[in-house]
Amino acid sequence: MRALLAFAAFLLLAGPAGAQHQHQHGKPAAATPEAFTATPAFGPDGTLWLARAMADRIVVVRSTDLGKTFSEPVAVTPEPMNLDWGPDARARIVVDPKGGLVVTFAIFQDRNFNGRAFYARSKDNGASFGKPQPITADATSQRFETAAVDPSTGRVFATWLDKRNGPKARAAGKPYPGAALAYAWEDGEAGFGPTSIALDNTCECCRLGVAFAGPGRPAVVFRNIFPGSIRDHGVVTFKDEKTPGPVRRVSADEWKIEACPHHGPSLAILPDGSYHVAWFTDGSARKGLFYARADNGDTPFGAPRALSTARRQPARPYILANGTALHLVWKEFDGTKSTVRWQVSHDSGRQWSEPRTVADTEDASDHPLLVAHAGRAYLSWLTQADGYRLIPLEDQP
């Protein structure tokens, strides 16, 4: 009896722990899919803040020496949570002009990938975070929450993909493909104010890109569903804080797909008012990674320019305006290594430097991200082999 008890205990203990290493013996690991991301933000004082999603929790660390050393992690999630581990999801952090921190993230509520978006604030310069609160009262499903600080007003804008209108439409016997682009503004101590829907029937599984066209005027780029299940990109620019403008199509790639591409776009707006978008598509009109620009918020986007070639799996673009310079990075694979390729433009995206490799790795990696402070732009990249790196980009203005 005693032996049996010991054996049972051994088996139960060996279950999950053993499973972690099973892949070495040719058996799939039993672990829950693991979130593996690091998202940066600079504070006004030059402190680099990172939101790290690690398995079932989120922590924030800070560096005062440009990523060489980091503080002890501060917990954002007080207990283990079933984090959204989707390939385009990430916990994010923004710093408002007063130094207040807002972390946003999502969890999976069920096995059907219905999400719940949360935010947590720190009012003591990152020493602690308040209990995470849902970003919206509706509990249907939210994912890909993205917060951004309006550089003119300091007010925090949040936007996400929200499924609240799906069940209502279907109850009325109407089809409802995709999700809705939802948004809310920071509302003082109370967190985020009421949720509004900017647009129905967007694609439901790709990250969003946000930039500001002027005071109270966020612009959001997202994968939309155009008639005929075409999942190409669109930009919505707000006329004011409460009035989203019409959808402007970035490119007619004609990607007809009844599925989730898990590849979201990136957007930057320069001081001259020009718009710059980079995105992935597998459409019938074009396949691969592309960049396009528009002179302002009203003109159509110009012809897409291909970044790299399809045989190098170019993906995960990120574009950043730093003063009048535009920086563009993406990830590609050469058969052995994943590399981050970088281009810079000093003439509003008309001419670009030759692509250069600024970092590489021989194992799994997070998406490459860009971040700037005090006139300098940096690549922010988490890799399994080398951990987190903040890499200064050359050719600065």
Binding site: L4, P33, P87, A259, Q313
Partner: protein, 161 residues
Amino acid sequence: MKLHRLLLALLLAVAATGAKAADLQSFGRGSWSKLRAAHDGQPTVIHFWGLTCAPCLVEMPEWGKLSAERPDMRLVMIAADPVPQDPARVNDMLARAGLGKAENWAFTDRFNERLRYEVDPAWAGELPRTLLIDRDGKETVLAGVAELAEVRAWLDAQKKR
């Protein structure tokens, strides 16, 4: 004695879970060339699917039916989720689709780029995806949900050669 019986049941349950997962093979770096070598010279249908791919889950039972209808089909199923999934759930889906006895693999390496590159450098990761490989190694790619009539016609053509 009651405790004894409870423990025995517990042990059997743990053992059963282990046996169920045993059929699923880990697809990691280098697996593709081994898989191809194992089927060399044999017409083979390779279907890539994913637990996180809704159209794949809708299509799966159709593959289960085709598999039952065509014992002449060498079918290899590969779960190619971009983030490796719980093998118990992968097995559960395969069993529900009537594909529990097929040759089943699942991506277990987070370095998804590398696994895809080994299969096809130009594969951007879209699912589902079907590869028809004839006895000379010639590949036909069916991107998206496969037209199974096309697969049947291909199988018939392989017999006549």
